[in-house]
Symmetry: C2
Subunit: 585 residues, 2 copies
Amino acid sequence: MLRTHTCGELRLDHVNQEVTLAGWVQRVRNKGGLIWVDLRDRYGLTQLIFEEGSSEKSLLDKAAQLGREFVVSATGTVIERTAKNEKMATGLIEIKVSKLEVLNAAKVPPFIIEDETDGGDELRMKYRYLDLRRGVVREKLQLRHRMMQETRKYMDAQDFIEVETPVLIKSTPEGARDFVVPSRTNPGEFYALPQSPQTFKQLLMVSGFDRYFQIVKCFRDEDLRADRQPEFTQIDCEMAFVTQEDILNTFEGLIKHLFSSVKGIDLGHVDHMTFADAMKYYGNDKPDIRFDMKFVELNELAKGKDFAIFDNAELVVGICAKGAAGYTRKQIDELTEWVKRPQIGAKGMIYLRYNADGSLKSSVDKFYSPEDLQAWADAFGAEPGDLMLVLSGDANMARKQLSELRLKMGEELGLRDRNTYKPLWVLDFPLLEWDEETKRFHAMHHPFTSPKAEDIPLLETDPGAVRANAYDLVINGVEVGGGSIRIHDRATQQLMFTHLGFSDEEAQKQFGFLMEAFEYGAPPHGGIAFGFDRICAIFGGSDSIRDYIAFPKNNSGRDVMIDSPSTIAQEQLEELSIRVSLEQR
Amino acid sequence: MLRTHTCGELRLDHVNQEVTLAGWVQRVRNKGGLIWVDLRDRYGLTQLIFEEGSSEKSLLDKAAQLGREFVVSATGTVIERTAKNEKMATGLIEIKVSKLEVLNAAKVPPFIIEDETDGGDELRMKYRYLDLRRGVVREKLQLRHRMMQETRKYMDAQDFIEVETPVLIKSTPEGARDFVVPSRTNPGEFYALPQSPQTFKQLLMVSGFDRYFQIVKCFRDEDLRADRQPEFTQIDCEMAFVTQEDILNTFEGLIKHLFSSVKGIDLGHVDHMTFADAMKYYGNDKPDIRFDMKFVELNELAKGKDFAIFDNAELVVGICAKGAAGYTRKQIDELTEWVKRPQIGAKGMIYLRYNADGSLKSSVDKFYSPEDLQAWADAFGAEPGDLMLVLSGDANMARKQLSELRLKMGEELGLRDRNTYKPLWVLDFPLLEWDEETKRFHAMHHPFTSPKAEDIPLLETDPGAVRANAYDLVINGVEVGGGSIRIHDRATQQLMFTHLGFSDEEAQKQFGFLMEAFEYGAPPHGGIAFGFDRICAIFGGSDSIRDYIAFPKNNSGRDVMIDSPSTIAQEQLEELSIRVSLEQR
C-alpha cells in the first residue's frame, strides 16, 4: 500500500508513530516558514505540517509548490496539535512531515471541491468525477452502497434468491417505450432493454424459486422530466404461495430493516389505506401522512344557498389548517393566486377563518349565515385559531387541486419535516385506467396484475370500477414501491389482454411464452418493485435522485461527461443491417 | 402464507402437528385404496398419503386425478412412516392429508422434471422455466446466489464501495464489437452497452473512491463460441494507492473467502508464475497446475544426431507422464493420431518409454543411442515406469500442441480431479500482441494497462517485448480473472494510444474525458475483473457456464424461450430514426 493509514483514522493514540498518508491536497496555508496542508481522502482530512528549521529547505519548497487537488503521499510523525480542532475527527493531531512525494499534479479544478461549491449544474455534470470528490456527494453514494448491502442482507436472511434476469430481451411496447438493440447475427431483428424483469420473475415463480429478488437496472425511453433517468435501479421482488398480506408484511420488514440499520430509526407501525380513501381524503394516491389535514366534503352544507359557484360544482371540498388563522389577507390572496396558476388550475379559493375569539370570517359571508359557517367549522372539526380553505368544481379536478394546496400548507406550516418518516400502504388500486389519447383502457399497474375476484364481473359492465390486488408503498408522499398479486392462469391472463385491446395474435406474439408457462403448473404469486434511486434520495433527505446516481444523464438523456450518445462508424451500422434515416422525422 | 411449512423441513419432531404444504406433484403412486404423492418445492420433497377408510372418498378421488406438476396445497397431520427412507431429509415422516386443494393444473411437461431428464438441449432451453425446476439446475442458481452474497460480504468488510456504473454508455469499438442502442431523443446517435465498466471505475478512482466493486452485467457482440454469452457478469474491482502486490493479496483473500464460505475448502497458498514461465513450462498462459508434468526442452540433447525432423525444428520439447509406461503401442498410436488432428496440428509425436526393468524404448531408437536416450530421461527426471512424449517444430506451435497433449494426459491419468482446486497468479503479461489480420499491435489486456517502467524504452524498439503490470488469476487451467495496474497520467496514456495506432483525434474523441480526468489529480490505481459466470461454473464443478445463468441465450444469441431478438414495429423504427437495410449485407 502507498499508505499506512487513511486520512480519517489518526488520533492522539497514534502520537509519535511514523505514518504514511496519501490523498488529495484540499488546502495549503503558507505562513512563510510554516506550511500547513490539509490532505483529503474518502475517509477524512488530516493536517500536515512543514516547519522551517525542523524540516529541510527542499521539503518546504516542495510543500510550497503544492496546488489544490495534487495527489501526494506524505510520511512523517504524528504529533499532538497545539491548536486543536474538536470539530474534526483528526483535529487533535497533525503530521510533521519528513518525506513528501507528489504522485500526480493537478490542473486548477473548474470549480471548488468543497461541500459548498461555485460550480453550476452543467459544469459539475461534465466533471462529474470531480463533483464526486465533494464530501456531500460522496456521502450520498456511500449511503446508496449501505442501502444495497442491507437490502441484500435482509432478503438473503428471508430466503430470497438473487437471480440475474437478462438485459437483452424482447420488445413489448406496452407502457413506456423500449430501448432497442439491433442484432447483428439476426439481421432486421432487435433485442429490447427491460423496463422491468416482470415476466422473468413470474417465470421464476413458475420454476419454483418461491422467493426471488434482484437489485437491477431497468430502462425506459421516455421524454425525460426533471427527475427521471433513462436507466434506473429497482429492488425487484416476487414470492409464491402468498397472500397480499404476506407481501405487505415481508416488505414492511425490509423497509423497517433499512431504516433501523442505515438510519437508526424505528419506523413503527405502517398504516394501510385504500386507494378510494386516499383519493377521498387526500386527493392523491400517494398521500403525505406526516400531517393530517384530511379533506372534508361540504356538498351538503355548502350547496343550496344561492352561491352559484358551489351550486354548480360537482364537489365542494376543503381542508382545515390547524393554527393558521393568523394568515393575513395578503397571505390568503397569495394562496388564492397560487391555486389559480395554470399548474394547479383552480378557478378560485374560499377561506373560512376561525378567529381566536370564536368568531368566524369567510370570503363568502354574504351567502352563508354564521350558523351555516359554524356548521362548516364543525364538519372540519375546527377550533378557534384554525383556517379552512375550500375549493370546488369537477370532483377529480377539485381533489387534485386541493391535494396540491394541502401539501403547500403542510410545507408552510412546517409539517413536512425531512427527518420524520411516515410510510403508508395504499391498497386496492383500480385495475384499469382510461386513456383519453388512445380511447381505451390501460393497465394501471401492468397487464399481469390480478383483478379482485369479486370485481371480475364488472370487467364487462364497468371496467373502470374493477379493483386490483395492487398496492403501493408511499413514504412522505412519495411512491417508493408498488406491486400486485399476479394472474397465474392462462384464461384470466387472456381475458386481461382482450380487455386491454390486444388481439389474440398480438397477445400470443408478445406474451405467448408466459401464458404457456401458466399451463405447466404456475403457483399463486405476487411481488413488488421499489425504486431504489428514489428510496436512497428519501433516506438522504433529498428531493432529487440525480445525486444518488454515480454517473447520471441530463434531462436530454445525455451523459455530458463522456459525450454520449454519439455517432457510430458506418461499418458498425452496416454490420447491424441498419441505416440512419433522419429525414423520416 | 398458503403453507405453514416447506416441503423440506418436516421431521419426526413434527409428528402429530397439523401442517399445510404447497408445491408441485412430483410423482403419484396409486395402489387403489392407497395413494402416495411426492410433493416438491424449492426446499425438498415430502410424501403425502391418502388412505381409503381414513380419508374421505372425494379426497381420494381428487388425489387420484392429480397429474405430474400440478400445483396443490395439502393440509394434514404429520405421521411417522412405517417404511422409512433414510436418504430423504423428510424420509422419516409423511402427511396424512385431510384437505387437498388444486391451486393450478398442469399439462404434461415436455420432458421429465427430475435430475436425470429426457429433454434435449433445445427443448430444455425453450421451456427453461421447467428446466429450472430440476434440482440439479436449481442448485446451480442457488450456488450463484450464495457466491454473490459472499462476494459482497467480503468486499464490504474490506471497505469497498459498490457503485453502479451506467449501462447506456458510448461506443468505443476497441476490442470486441459493441452492442448499440439508437437514441430517440438524439437522432442519428447511439449509446453502447458496456463491454466492461473500465473507464468508469478508473474515473471513480480519480474521484477518490479508493476501493470500488460491482457485480455487473457486461456485453460483447461476438460471434458466439460454444460457451460464450452476449451478456455476462463480472465482479469488477478497482483500488487506488496500491501496488500490484496489494491487489493480488486482496483478491486472493476474496477467492479464499469464497472457497471457505461456500465450499468449506481452505485454498492454501496461491502460487505465482510469470507469463514467460507459464509459456516455457506449460505452453499456456493459464496452466492447470493440479498436476506437474512440466515441459522439458531437448534442443541440446536431441539435435545434431541426424534426425532431420528434430534438426530442422526450432524447438524440441516434451513431457514426462509419470507411471504411464504401461501405455500400449496402440494407445500411443492413438495419442499420435490425436495430436495430428487439425485442431491440434502436430506433424507427429515421438515417445520414449522408461520400462520397469530400466531399459528405454523409443520411436527414434535408430537415431539415438541408449546413452542419448538415457540423457533425455535424466533431463525429464524420469524413472522406470514413466512415459515421455516429445513434439517439435516452430517453438510457439510446438508449445501450444504440447500444452494440449499435457492436458489430455493429465485427464487420462486422472490428475485433473474436479474437487481439487489449484489457483495460480500469472504475472507480467506482455503489454501488446501482434494482430496478423490488421497488421498492428493490440493491447493484450486493454489500452489502460501500464507498461513496466523499465520496459518503456522497448516500446520504440521491440514493442512485443514490453511487459505490462498485468495479472490473471487461473484456477485449474481456467482464467477466472484478470487485471492490471493502470496508467494514471495523460502523457503515458497518449503514448499508449499512439502505439496502438490511434490518431490523436480518435483518441481524443473516444477517451478524451479519461485523459482529461488524469490531469485533475489521478491517484495511482489498478484493479481486476472476475468472470462471475465462470467462477460459479468452477465452484459447481462444471465446464459450461450456461447452466449457471438463469435465462441463457443459445449459440446464435437467441433466447428461444421468449423468442428474442424479434422484429419491431415500423413506428418504433421511425421514432428512432433508423431503417432496417438487409440488402447491405
